[in-house]
Symmetry: C2
Subunit: 123 residues, 2 copies
């Protein structure tokens, strides 16, 4: 494994992009163990900063992310993970977490997607 | 401006994606001032953690990023900035910073792009 630059909390941001549509789905964080699990299982595994534990994306919702490729950047401090998303990535029910479009003042102008599922029925 | 969740250093990650090709170009960090400048000028402005100062992307290289849209996520702690990239985003000369493809052991398997410029001639 190459030497990655983890931050002072031992974490590194990972951008998750849908391989087919090229939509950016979410950003989460990995520690070395989460990255190793992701590499071995080919399912995304992250470190939850709020729950302070590892987390297999989809373990509650069933909406797993099958890893097609993992790339890193010139500084070795960020990952880009290309996935096949089953269901939807966002816990609010949207396919992508990035659906809140800002206006020029930094307020929410509109929501760019319709929900794919009802979070109350999934979580 | 809505209330964003900045980290303990007052920063928030911003994913930069090319609007046309949908390539993910880079990840950088904003503080509230960098975000305000980005919103007002429609050119990306970030906070450099190494130089500890604001930084207009392209101010040295001429490779500015013209902002087409800014989105935020469900947690309000990450931005997705859609841009038109002039030149190339990566200081190594690649169009995207994410060109280092990992193998299953986490080593670099290959570089996925050819350089668009010689960094020695630009920086």
């Amino acid at each position: 494994m190459i030497k990655f630059k983890y931050d002072r909390n031992g974490l590194m941001p990972a951008i998750v992009q849908e391989a087919g549509s090229r939509k950016v789905l979410m950003l989460a964080y990995v520690n070395p163990k989460a990255l190793r699990i992701s590499l071995e299982t080919r399912k995304t595994c992250f470190y939850s900063r709020s729950r302070k534990s590892l987390w297999i994306k989809g373990e509650t919702s069933g909406h797993y992310q099958k890893i097609k490729a993992i790339l890193t950047d010139c500084d070795r401090d960020t990952l880009l993970i290309l996935v096949e998303q089953s269901g939807a990535a966002c816990h609010l029910g949207y396919h992508s977490c990035f659906v809140h479009l800002l206006d020029s003042k930094g307020n929410i102008r509109k929501i760019t997607e319709k929900k794919k599922f009802d979070p109350k029925k999934v979580y």
